[in-house]
Symmetry: C2
Subunit: 208 residues, 2 copies
DNA sequence: GTCTATATCCGGATAGAC
DNA sequence: GTCTATCCGGATATAGAC
């Protein structure tokens, strides 16, 4: 959890914590679809039934709202990734990870889009986080995957690209949900997506 | 090429066409990183060495600039997809498609991000295009893939998800280039990415 | 803690001289 | 075709009453 993105304020009253939670939840949706500059305080306010000025009583400014929401998003984002364990069977470990990520993506697609948006802008707030904390974590998991490959439990694929592939596909169903639904004529559920991704990543499309 | 997104103006002088091209190129970059509302006419203008008012001589308003850029983007986007032929060998056809998409993504990452942005907003301008033209096209290619499966040339995967998988991965390297580079500590080239995706999609990570 | 009113700024767009 | 000047709406943020 990158402290660098947003400072946690000290000592909040009960209503303060409650209202800040209301605000960040509404803000997540607005920032995710409208982008940083496209989002307006007024839209966030009306979405959580609050007046603009009242909202600004709980947060000093727009930027602080954004930083808080982003920090919260990153927090939950890495948890399933961290849990990939070297001791587990690779197919099971990766399968679990994919399943959890898909569930998360369908459950909170706005979080996924918010993150995507930050990256599109060139990651002004989290560039440092990506190069340090995230890189270290990925290096660590890449080593695990390499170990699996060396012991013959996995085909010799590049660990980094394997990880990117999982991120890319799981996120796609959140970020491009509109397109997926338009093209398929329906919205695929968690199970269907998980099956599709797991099958493809692990087995591929080449005939047995 | 969706006519619905932007009308082509008739009869443009030589300088008009040239300057409009300058503008749309600059606009592509700004819209791609800042989003629709985040982009300002002034930024677009300064990026192509023009004054704000002068720019507005060539385009009536901001919206028209956006529509034009978006239409241009969609135009090039589908070409490689259309060329997937039922007569070709599946591995070759898909491999070629992936290679072309990756090359395109690395060559024009802004186009990819612009499209992603439009989808994130809920596809206000191209929702109709997605449900009609794009859906028809995907249905058609899905049938081709299904045919390959029926004749045993491909493993029994869901054609739609296979297509999404290819879109997701190829686009990831354009849209999340900042993250990829931060995590890997270097920028992978076209060949490396194409190999990684093709290998994964066709063969998967399970040991032979 | 919540409201009304308002200062301030910025971006889109137009008028009109050259 | 390009410029300067300007209007207008909308968005952030603050002041101050209640």
């Amino acid at each position: 959890m990158p402290r660098s993105v947003a400072e946690k304020p000290e000592k909040l009253s009960r209503i303060q914590t409650a209202n800040r939670a209301l605000i960040t939840e509404a803000a997540l949706e607005v920032f995710a679809t409208e982008g940083y500059r496209g989002a307006t305080i007024e839209r966030i306010a009306e979405r959580c039934g609050m007046s603009k000025t009242n909202l600004l009583y709980y947060f000093p400014n727009k930027d602080e709202i954004y930083r808080t929401v982003l920090a919260q998003t990153l927090e939950g984002w890495l948890d399933p990734f961290i849990e990939i364990s070297p001791d587990a069977d690779p197919e099971e470990a990766l399968g679990n990870y994919i399943a959890e990520k898909v569930a998360l993506s369908l459950d909170r697609p706005e979080a996924s889009r918010l993150f995507a948006n930050e990256i599109h802008r060139g990651a002004p707030l989290i560039h440092d986080f990506l190069k340090t904390e995230l890189k270290d974590l990925v290096d660590e998991k890449a080593a695990v995957i390499r170990q699996w490959i060396d012991s013959g439990k996995l085909a010799p694929v590049d660990p980094y690209h394997l990880i990117f592939m999982i991120w890319a596909t799981t996120q796609h169903y959140a970020d491009f949900a509109v397109q997926v639904e338009a093209v398929m004529g329906r919205a695929p559920d968690t199970d269907e997506i998980t099956q599709a991704i797991t099958g493809m990543i692990l087995k591929g499309a080449r005939p047995a």
